[in-house]
């Protein structure tokens, strides 16, 4: 009887998750040449991936990007959540909705919109900086693209993380605050000593979410590359590189290998992170 209940989920799980993964793994073990056809090469594609400068530079980029973007997003989200938790006016409710709004905008539209805002030809930056007689920074140039993307990602995701943290704060028993106040704790101390430790599991949850998401960075750079003059190459992030290999060069084998190799990198990063925070977590 139990199987009957698990059945529907099991079928979907097998058909749409396990089967495609297994097929991709299978593909990644072969090599197809224009001359000579397909042959079984075992892990050659993986050896190639981990010695391929395009893949390695992509991995290095997403790791660097994670190290900067995740703390920035989480700090902003945490600060906003704490403020909105402490302030309970109608304006706070309105702000909460507005801060969350960017998350409701599809990433594609968000990226296109920022691409236009960054544009030096018809974006507002040129005019605004022009008022002060300065030249606008070009966020689509190779020097500043890192910050350009950082801004897009933070704009999109900080609100979402804020909502998760805010929801966690709502679950904290208010008598704890009362007890803290009785002991002479100020607002600042309540925030740092009571609230943050109590929502630590939620913090770790969003850290894991953002880590996985950032390592698989794809949408924003893929869209901005059409607006940024040669700044973003087709191998900018590992996912973009896998996409190019599979769908542009018809190298599905190597594309699958890159995807799996990236999966390995994600797994290692997430595992390491969870290992170091194992005392705090309660959800995994």
């Amino acid at each position: 009887m139990g199987w009957l209940f698990v059945g529907p989920f099991g079928i979907v799980f097998l058909a749409f998750l396990i089967a495609p993964l297994a097929y991709a793994l299978y593909l990644s073990l072969f090599q197809k040449k224009l001359i000579g056809g397909t042959s079984f090469v075992l892990f050659d594609n993986y050896v190639k991936a981990f010695t391929d400068p395009s893949f390695l530079s992509g991995v290095w980029f997403v790791i660097r990007f994670s190290l900067v973007s995740i703390p920035v997003q989480i700090l902003i989200a945490l600060a906003l959540a704490l403020i909105l938790d402490a302030v309970t006016t109608a304006f706070a409710r309105f702000s909460r909705l507005m801060i969350f709004l960017p998350y409701a905008i599809p990433t594609v539209i968000g990226a296109v919109m920022w691409g236009f805002l960054y544009s030096r030809g018809f974006g507002p930056l040129t005019d605004i900086f022009g008022l002060f007689g300065a030249t606008a920074p070009d966020f689509l140039s190779s020097d500043l693209i890192f910050y350009g993307l950082l801004n897009v990602v933070t704009w999109q995701w900080a609100g979402y993380y804020m909502i998760i943290l805010y929801a966690a704060l709502q679950g904290v028993d208010p008598t704890l605050y009362e007890a803290a106040r009785m002991d002479g704790a100020g607002r600042w101390q309540i925030a740092t000593r009571i609230k943050i430790p109590l929502i630590a599991p939620a913090l770790i949850l969003i850290l894991v979410f953002s880590l996985i998401g950032t390592l698989q960075f794809f949408n924003e750079p893929q869209i901005l590359r059409y607006l940024a003059a040669g700044t973003i190459g087709s191998d900018f992030t590992p996912n973009m590189y896998a996409y190019q290999q599979a769908f542009s060069l018809a190298n599905f084998n190597y594309g699958s290998a890159i995807s799996f190799a990236l999966g390995g990198v994600v797994f290692i990063c997430v595992y390491a992170f969870l290992f170091f925070t194992r005392k705090r977590r309660s959800f995994l």
């Binding site: 529907p8 079928i11 059409y226 607006l227």
Partner: protein, 446 residues
């Protein structure tokens, strides 16, 4: 709670079956979702992918004139987008259309994968005389013909007459003069003289060929061997030349066909545009040359390295090919031969500068030769620039891994623009990269 989860699962399953149902008629292999309307019933249908701006008209013309076959057209994207979908369909073994529009330089890429049909046996002799020898050469591999030429891309230098007049420069005849003119305009506080875009590697390839480079040598009799020569002096010189112009701030480095670039063209930020005969049609479509800008453009022959021995080159230009997945190749070949080959379609194409026709009926038409092109303010662009360029064009051997080569080139050009390598270094890296790829693909590289 339980009930809701079951409902959700059922919904997911339903969505899943929906997806499966969709995937079976994905792409153009199914004739039920055409962009055009087929009026004649119970006639065999041939599916086709293409992106000419006037495809609708071309297809309607063909369908009107034929009672034994009808064309079902889908636009799946322009250039690279279409190739990616076709490539995926080739790998999947299903989902490709019967007839597909491809640029001549991509034919070897698909031919080597066995994705295209040699149409020589399906009525080639009847239409052979309609096209020049060079046109056929570009769509052939060895003796086999893998496409029916439609349009070519003889190159010229489109320029802003108002900017040239204002800064008192005349159209440069050589690349040395081009640089001098660019310097002169810059010194006088004028706009950029041109654009060195990373996303148009095919232009740079053409310009390298103009200097005497032969990027690839390929003998179909020995399909396993290929000559790759991307870092000879001519190739290096051209990349150094453009890298130098960009470094001196004489030309822009914007990706082309982007909103940013088109805005720049409309604003008159670029004095010249090195491009092909089909460019005016696409620029007009993007809103260039209208309103205040009407009639500000003119065209001159492509600058030369050695004005005593001019060399003409080509960018783009497409053909209709029959795919291996066509169930009735003979019928598909009939469509490939007949599409865009009737006078009405051709005339519509060249009057709007969407195509530079290769069909001799159009090329020899006095109305075409003498056409006063509105975009160029009545200049007889065909007679003055594009026809001589097309006649002097000798054809090129393209690589069977064109996509990889162009991607690699784009990457190196980006590096030049960033200033991390010189043109010569970029050529060396490109050679190394592409030769390595060719070896990986099983070729013997010479």
């Amino acid at each position: 709670m339980k009930r809701r989860r079951i409902l959700a699962t059922v919904a997911m399953l339903a969505a899943g079956t929906g997806l499966v149902a969709c995937s079976s008629d994905e792409g153009g292999s199914d004739a039920s979702n055409c962009t055009n309307t087929i009026t004649k019933q119970n006639v065999p249908v041939v599916t086709m992918w293409g992106w000419y701006p006037n495809t609708q008209l071309v297809v309607d013309n063909f369908n009107k004139q034929h009672d034994d076959v009808q064309v079902c057209w889908t636009n799946v994207g322009q250039g690279g987008d279409e190739y990616d979908k076709f490539q995926t369909a080739i790998s999947a073994g299903t989902g490709a259309p019967d007839v597909i529009m491809v640029e001549a330089d991509r034919i070897p890429t698909f031919q080597i994968q066995g994705a295209l049909v040699d149409i020589k046996q399906y009525g080639f002799d009847a239409v052979k005389a309609n096209y020049g020898e060079g046109a056929w050469k570009d769509v052939s591999v060895g003796d086999a013909v893998y496409g029916v030429p439609v349009d070519g891309g003889p190159m010229g230098m489109i320029y802003r007459k108002d900017i040239f007049d204002k800064y008192k420069v005349t159209p440069p005849k050589t690349w040395a003069e081009y640089e001098q003119a660019a310097q002169k305009v810059k010194d006088a506080g004028g706009p950029l003289f041109g654009d060195f875009g990373a996303n148009v590697p095919a232009v740079l390839m053409a310009l390298q060929i103009q200097k005497g480079a032969t990027p690839f040598t390929f003998d179909p009799a020995q399909p396993k061997a290929i000559g790759v020569k991307l870092n000879d002096q001519a190739s290096k010189d051209v990349l150094d030349y453009w890298g130098g112009l960009a470094k001196k701030g004489l030309v822009g480095t914007q990706n082309q066909f982007t909103p940013e670039y088109i805005t720049g063209v409309i604003n008159g930020n670029y004095a010249t545009y090195i491009s092909a005969a089909w460019a005016p049609g696409y620029l007009t479509g993007a809103g260039v040359g209208k309103g205040q800008d009407t009639g500000k453009f003119a065209v001159a022959p492509l600058p030369q390295w050695d004005s005593a021995n001019p060399v003409q080159v080509n960018w783009g230009g497409s053909a209709f090919s029959v795919t291996k997945q066509a169930k009735k190749p003979e019928l598909a070949a009939k469509v490939a031969y007949g599409l865009y080959a009737d006078k009405e379609s051709l005339t519509d194409g060249w009057t709007n500068q969407i195509i530079f026709p290769l069909n001799l009926t159009a090329l020899k038409d006095p109305a075409f030769v003498d056409l006063k092109v509105a975009f160029f303010n009545g200049q007889q662009a065909n007679k003055e620039v594009y026809l001589p360029a097309a006649e002097a064009y000798k054809g090129v051997a393209y690589a069977p891994f064109g996509q990889y080569y162009l991607d690699a080139m784009e990457k190196q050009v980006s590096e030049i623009i960033k200033g991390s390598v010189t043109g010569s270094q970029a050529a060396d890296r490109l050679q190394e990269d592409v030769a390595k790829y060719a070896k990986e693909q099983g070729f013997t590289v010479q």
